[in-house]
Point group: C2
Chain length 222, copies 2
């Protein structure tokens, strides 16, 4: 039996929300065609075919011809679960619209370029485990005080303190709610460490946030 995804209707991810990553990309941002850093959050979707759960096997991706790809990578984010309809709220009131928090892992092909919407690399089947559960919003006083870690086969590979996000959870909810109305159960993955973690077939991956939980997944294809 397949566990039910914790996502209702929509999983929106925020790219480029790691201050260190933005600083490292500054030179690239100033090249054509933009010639400046992004002025708004850069968003992408993980559609329904990507949604997966605590404990699930994440499929190893295949190329166009059906052969296994050479490389995959993982990032992890705090997942903000919307608690009630959210449309054009201010940053000051935004956290009142949060129903809870969870963890979103984002498995993908390695990112080749930050320019183009990378649907192919981001929308792999089963590539977005969410869980292990939704922790009530009142259990988390300040989301920016949390730290997201990723361990692979028991070895810690990534530590991302959410204090280093370019935009806070409240700012993101406010901005996104002016772009699209959010509904209860929709989830925003608010920020990933700029450096994704390389993974191999059969790896056991733990994405963890103290006070929110640990999300365990295994890479398939071994």
């Amino acid at each position: 039996m397949t566990a039910k995804t914790l996502v209702n209707s929509k999983l929106v991810c925020v790219a480029l929300n790691d201050k260190a990553q933005l600083a490292a990309l500054e030179g690239t941002f100033n090249e054509a065609p933009y010639k400046k850093p992004p002025t708004q959050p850069v968003l992408y979707y993980k559609p329904r075919n990507t949604w997966s759960t605590e404990g699930a096997v994440v499929e190893w991706a295949k190329d166009f011809d059906g052969n296994d790809v050479a490389e995959m990578a993982v990032g992890a984010s705090l997942g903000v679960v919307i608690g009630k309809e959210t449309c054009r709220v201010s940053a000051e009131e935004a956290l009142d619209y949060v129903g809870g928090y969870t963890i979103v892992a984002d498995y993908s092909l390695p990112e080749q370029s930050y320019y183009r919407p990378d649907i192919k690399g981001k929308c792999l089947d089963t590539s977005a485990p969410v869980g292990p559960e939704i922790v009530a919003a009142d259990k988390v006083a300040t989301p920016e005080a949390l730290t997201v870690t990723i361990s692979v086969n028991g070895e810690q590979k990534s530590v991302f303190e959410l204090a280093n996000m370019e935009r806070s959870v409240a700012e993101l909810i406010s901005i996104i709610s002016r772009i699209m109305t959010l509904q209860p159960g929709e989830i925003i993955a608010v920020g990933f460490a700029g450096d994704r973690v390389a993974v191999n077939k059969g790896d056991k991956v733990e994405a963890s946030i103290e006070g929110v939980g640990t999300l365990n997944n295994t890479l398939g294809g071994a």
Copy 2:
């Protein structure tokens, strides 16, 4: 009472599938950062908050501060409704996976740049009416023989013959099914005329495909 959307779970749109548009952009494609035309279909999503229906009022978009935007535009596409689970199918067999056809209208902010994933401009609430109904696949022998027209307040503004698509319906299904597994009821909007049609508050818009139907919507905010 609100009519129920015809979309199940996912609405994927194909950008840049008009041969004339591709030809017009050739110079831009050859500039930095890509220095060549896209080699794969460029896809974008219309998420659940965008889904709307025949006869619905499409909300006039607001800017960050809640003021009405100056301009909106509309495109229309044949909507291909997936009939059964579709994963890594060949172009030759792809049409066997189609359950039916409908019309997808795509209201948006005017496109500023083809480079960046334009979540803000494309994900407006109610901006993707789909309908008026789903016509069974066996009623359409050759989707590329169809023509999509858009009329505003009774005056024809756009004619797009699907024979002028860069990639056929079968090719698109085959390619997309290698990127993500498609489920019954998910819809692909396979191609829009490169020139979107400007619309104003209160306009009555008809998107029409002979043999598939006419999708009628009105712009709000008048």
